[in-house]
């Protein structure tokens, strides 16, 4: 510590160690919080088509078209250790060929400070609802769930599921009309 550089260096190193400690305290203050909250999803239009999946096998696979409503209030989830929420809606169902299918249909980023009261009506899925076969037509129990991935300043990146989901059935006949 006898020189100017030595003192400046020691001080900067100590300040960074303190910063690491403060960051850890920030993490500790939020790690046990419960980030679940209710959300309601409803489907409006549900149709299924049988068309070739050129991105995969070129065989005719089932493609679902779903429009839905989403309503939830995520305002209270934000705190000093949440920078943004990554919302996504997954469709989950079981088919004879797969025990568990999970398809992401829609997502949205909500930054801290933005409006976190979500009230969407009759929105289209952002991503294709492909089945890897013919499992969608006439399926009785497909479940839509909203989940969010919390992006913090420091700490874990938890995936939290909303309380509440919506189950619906696909029609028994393929649609040939344009959707």
């Amino acid at each position: 510590m006898h020189s100017v550089f030595g003192r400046g260096n020691a001080m900067a190193a100590y300040a960074l160690s303190v910063l690491a400690g403060l960051t850890f305290c920030c993490f500790l203050s939020t790690v046990f919080l419960d980030y679940r909250t209710p959300a309601t999803i409803n489907t409006r239009q549900v149709v299924v088509k049988s068309i070739p999946d050129y991105s995969a096998s070129r065989e005719k696979n089932d493609l679902g078209f779903v429009t839905f409503d989403l309503k939830t209030d995520l305002t209270h989830l934000f705190n000093w250790n949440v920078k943004q929420l990554f919302l996504y809606i997954t469709a989950e169902y079981q088919t004879p060929s797969n025990e568990f299918n999970q398809v992401v249909l829609w997502d949205k980023i909500v930054l801290r400070g933005e409006n976190a009261v979500i009230d969407l009506k009759n929105i289209h899925a952002k991503y294709y609802f492909w089945d890897d076969g013919n499992g969608l037509r006439g399926h009785k129990n497909v479940t839509l769930t909203l989940s969010w991935n919390i992006i913090p300043n420091a700490g874990l990146l938890p995936n939290v599921g909303a309380i509440g989901s919506h189950s619906f059935a696909f029609p028994a006949e393929y649609t040939t009309a344009r959707v």
Binding site: M1, G8, M11, Y14, A15, T23
Partner: protein, 102 residues
């Protein structure tokens, strides 16, 4: 580095007691600002404010303890006077030798 520059450089140094005190003071200031910043950031739920308060403490501590203020130079050690070189009066050969001993 000639003799004059050497002396100039050494004038930035603290004495032993001052080194200890400067480190103690800087750590105290940074820790204090860190704790206050953490509480403040928690109250307003903004971690960036915590970081800014900590940086403010760092700059305050830097201003108070990095420059060789007189308060850190009050107890110089009573070094003994350098002994004269044993032999050879030539100043050309003498000066590098004494420098090395320092």
């Amino acid at each position: 580095m000639n003799h004059y520059a050497m002396k100039e450089y050494r004038s930035w140094n603290l004495d032993y007691d001052g080194q200890g005190r400067s480190e103690k003071i800087s750590r105290l200031i940074i820790t204090l600002f860190g704790v206050v910043g953490l509480v403040w950031g928690y109250i307003i739920q903004q971690f960036s404010e915590t970081v800014y308060v900590l940086f403010a403490g760092f700059f305050l501590a830097a201003c108070l303890t990095v420059p060789p203020w007189p308060m850190y130079r009050r107890k110089p050690l009573p070094w003994q006077k350098p002994r004269p070189a044993p032999r050879e009066e030539g100043s050309e050969t003498q000066s590098p030798k004494t420098k090395k001993k320092k």
